[in-house]
Symmetry: C2
Subunit: 315 residues, 2 copies
DNA sequence: ATCACATCTTGTCCAAGACAAATAGTCATA
DNA sequence: TATGACTATTTGTCTTGGACAAGATGTGAT
């Protein structure tokens, strides 16, 4: 359906800012790679400014994911696309997924790709009802997310399909969370993401797991500046600030942001940060509770409650 | 720790990345202002890199707010802090609003500012139930949006409060839309915003008005690239693509994007674009149906249906 | 008043260089 | 075979100073 190898007959092109937005690679990095490795090699517009064709953008996304999984730029940036895709296949797939329990996720992906939107919504909704919110999030949404992510970098689904998927799931989760929000003796938790992180789904999944355990969740949505998180935490007397990250932000940046936020937050407010990027991270930030998986949430909450009860007793 | 010469003994200092993060001003802008206006004037570390003291960061935030409310950098960046704060006070309040019909919006703003979240949610929810979705959107949400926008540029509410407000309303609207989505003989309408436009609320308000009139809405969420909108419209055989814009994007950019999208969309797909920025716009784009207010939606749908019925009859 | 035209403003991009932190490679020692 | 120390390379980020186009403002004529 879409376009072929010839650049620029009808291929959509974008400038360096758009590439930075779409790939999470900074302008500096894009220019440095071009200088050092010869890729990306954008054409130039009449003003001498870089114009990236869609296929290079596509390749950059693959590269991004390979680097996130541990490879180094010098080894992958200059390789041709098919070699990279071969490497993608060879990556140790963290999700074993040979068992029969994730078939819902598979079915959902199939429905998404065949554009059967109402059927998709029905399937997800039914699955939610059958499993309950917690199990639904852990056993369906999380693997489905990974499935979608992989399908996307391998070019098997389009961006608009991912948008559509995220939209459906957001609705479903938000509704489910809304129906039980008002309970909870648990800690007051402020949820958001930092600027640059646009993915709301991870946030909602966390919120679901937290609400189920009786926490009082206050969600600011995505992309709240550090300073405003600090203010919000004070205004709402939050016990915990919980952030979510997908893979698009480089680990260094994430750690810097977290350290910054940790420094500005009042000391008695805990800072939790979740996201799949902590799976193979060796780095940690002092004073920040990082979680690689949603399944860690209940234990963390339990710990907080015990500790908090003890503190109260002492006072 | 590693404090420097002049500014202060214990003032925390940050590098240029942190300033970008906290103020939303890009590194390029920070360097350009320093070159042109002499502010900010960071000290340098041992490696010659910029180190910004906290008071300059604070002033940058004030400047940011003044610029967002219409002032120009050349006039404010080099002024002293107290002059800037005087200007903040002197900002004209754009909202006349003397009538008594928007009291719900006023109450909502009050609750938001006093951080009574559950009360706010209750108020909005009750209001929705009482008025019905359409009237709620037109008579409460729209004026409340304007109220919030004004309060923000005047510095009466914080960014995090605006986030919180948007989040509550999004949940409410999304839920309301979800409970009636599956009906409708009407046109298939693809809803989204273009990259750069992050406001989902406008989109949801439009979706609500469209759904009520029996249209089949397919929402892609925010920030879908042009190329993907085209693909999505084909995949889902949309009759209409509807976009939403708030005021933050310059009109020229909007028009250019619209023309681009219009050129790539199949000719038999209509393109609608709504948003308050069309209120005083003299510019139009050929082939694009622009609407300044949500109230225009029913008539537009009626027109489409009549025209479409006629076309069918001809075939 | 309204429009067209000239003039400033201002955000963004570019090039090429520099440097430190992170990573990989090497070699000797327990 | 591990482990640790040391060196070399890789890589992200910051620097300067210049350039340009789109937006905003001012000016003059209709």
């Amino acid at each position: 359906m879409d376009i072929m190898s010839e650049p620029s007959i009808n291929m959509p092109c974008v400038n360096i800012s758009a590439v930075e937005r779409d790939t999470g690679l900074s302008k500096d990095i894009l220019r440095a790679w071009e200088r050092r490795y010869g890729f990306p090699k954008p054409s130039r517009d009449s003003n001498g400014e870089r114009v990236y064709p869609a296929d290079q953008l596509e390749k950059l996304r693959v590269i991004r994911r390979l680097i996130d999984s541990g490879l180094r730029p010098g080894n992958v940036v200059s390789e041709p696309l098919d070699a990279l895709q071969a490497r993608m296949q060879a990556l140790p797939s963290r999700a074993p997924r040979t068992e029969g329990e994730f078939t819902v996720a598979d079915d959902a992906l199939r429905l998404l790709k065949s554009h059967q939107l109402t059927a998709l919504r029905q399937l997800l909704s039914q699955s939610l009802m059958r499993l309950g919110l917690q199990q639904f999030v852990l056993d369906v949404v999380a693997p489905l997310n990974e499935l979608i992510g992989n399908a996307w970098v391998e070019g098997r689904i389009e961006i608009f399909e991912e948008h559509l998927y995220a939209e459906q799931l957001q609705q479903l989760l938000q509704h489910a969370i809304g129906t039980m929000s008002d309970a909870g003796p648990g800690p007051r938790i402020l949820l958001t993401t930092l600027p640059g992180e646009q993915h709301k789904l991870g946030l909602l999944m966390a919120e679901a797991c937290l609400c189920i355990e009786g926490a009082q969740c206050i969600s600011l949505g995505v992309q709240t500046p550090v300073w405003d998180i600090v203010q919000a935490a004070r205004a709402h007397r939050a016990d915990i600030v919980a952030l979510s990250y997908s893979q698009v932000t480089p680990l260094n940046v994430v750690c810097a942001n977290l350290a910054d936020l940790r420094g500005q937050l009042d000391a008695d407010v805990e800072l939790w940060c979740g996201g799949s990027l902590w799976g193979n991270a060796r780095k940690t930030v002092p004073g920040v509770n990082t979680m690689a998986a949603l399944a860690e949430i209940p234990a963390a909450l339990e710990t907080w409650r015990r500790h908090h009860a003890a503190c109260r007793a002492v006072q």
